[in-house]
């Protein structure tokens, strides 16, 4: 049980690291945001689940599940708000990207 928890949290830590690496290496804001929220959300879920398997206390496991719920609910909302803000702030996509749905929707509503 303990070994399984340790391995799960190791996988989670690798996901966290890869998410941070994506924040550093990706070419534009939206790609960075994708790496910085999706990968780190999965990473933190796995990391904390692994730590929860390591605890034997029941209250701790309940608290970790509550913490995971907070992370799962708050993280997409904040990244959505941030992506929208970046779009209206005037940050363009990188040239290689093919689709900008919010931009197209705005154009259609103007026409």
């Amino acid at each position: 049980m303990l070994i399984a928890g340790a391995i799960i949290s190791l996988v989670g830590a690798i996901f966290l690291f890869l998410g941070a690496l994506g924040v550093l290496r990706m070419p534009d804001l939206y790609n960075r945001m994708q790496a910085g929220t999706k990968a780190t959300t999965l990473g933190s879920i796995l990391f904390m689940l692994g730590l929860g398997l390591g605890y034997y206390n029941q209250i701790c496991i309940c608290k970790i599940i509550l913490l995971l719920l907070f992370v799962i609910f708050t993280n997409p909302i904040s990244s959505h708000a941030l992506a929208r803000a970046g779009h209206f702030f005037g940050i363009r996509l990188i040239k290689r990207s093919v689709l900008d749905a919010l931009h197209d929707a705005e154009k259609e509503s103007e026409l």
Binding site: F70, F73, T74, I77, H80, A81, R84, F88
Partner: protein, 227 residues
């Protein structure tokens, strides 16, 4: 150039002044007299599992009263400075639907968590100040997501004044019925480690939490008022 030289000179001078402080530092091998008394007798005397709480609320209760007063003066000052605002053109962008529905889902959770923090201040880390800040942050989230909330300043003022007044009354009750001002032992101490324990500490912390939360909401809503 001469300015840079002087600032460099000043930094070197400061290094020489503060060098002895760093060089002669020794880690304390034992606690001082006061902290030894707190660490040894605090849990037994006041019945609070979190020793920091018993120090903050009871042993050093007057300091907490001073801090709350400072916060009150800050709120009054901000209200005085921002009392008349120029009416700018209202060019706010509306918040998105996801943010609105997420806020209406998360708001009760955050407020409940803030209440948990200040009612469990004597058992877990946290207390009145932190719980008040969490509640104020929930109200800030409401302001950020454009949900129309008419913050009634009268209710905020009443809440703040009432909780402040009851705080003083509890302190005076401690002076009358127990050892001194803000002593928590006029209520039964209860069983160590349960929620109804530690005398009056949970009540005092709840009052501090309400007061701090009301004051911070007042500050933020005065800053973000659009009229």
């Amino acid at each position: 150039m001469i300015k840079r030289f002087f600032s460099l000179f000043f930094v070197i001078l400061l290094i020489f002044v503060f060098m002895p402080l760093v060089k002669d530092i020794k880690p304390l091998s034992e606690l001082g007299v006061t902290s030894q008394k707190y660490a040894k007798d605090g849990a037994k005397e006041l019945g609070a599992a979190n020793l920091v709480t018993s120090v903050v609320v009871t042993y050093r209760g007057l300091d907490t009263l001073g801090e709350v007063t400072v916060l009150f003066i800050t709120t009054a000052g901000i209200g005085f400075l921002l009392r008349k605002r120029s009416t700018g053109k209202n060019k706010k962008r509306k918040a998105s639907e996801i943010l609105k529905s997420g806020t209406s889902f998360l708001l009760p959770l955050i407020v409940l968590f803030g209440v948990y923090i200040f009612t469990h201040g004597h058992l877990t880390p946290g207390g009145g100040f932190q719980g008040g800040v969490v509640i104020a942050s929930a109200i800030v989230l409401l302001l950020l997501s454009d949900i129309n909330l008419h913050t009634d300043h009268n209710i905020l003022n009443w809440l703040e004044s009432l909780s402040g007044g009851f705080y003083i009354i509890l302190g005076l009750l401690g002076l009358l019925l127990a050892g001194g001002f803000l002593d928590n032992r006029f209520l039964p101490l209860g069983k160590f480690g349960e929620i109804f324990s530690a005398g009056a500490i949970p009540i005092i912390y709840s009052l501090i939490g309400l007061k701090v939360g009301a004051e911070l909401v007042g500050i933020i809503s005065k800053l973000g008022r659009e009229e």
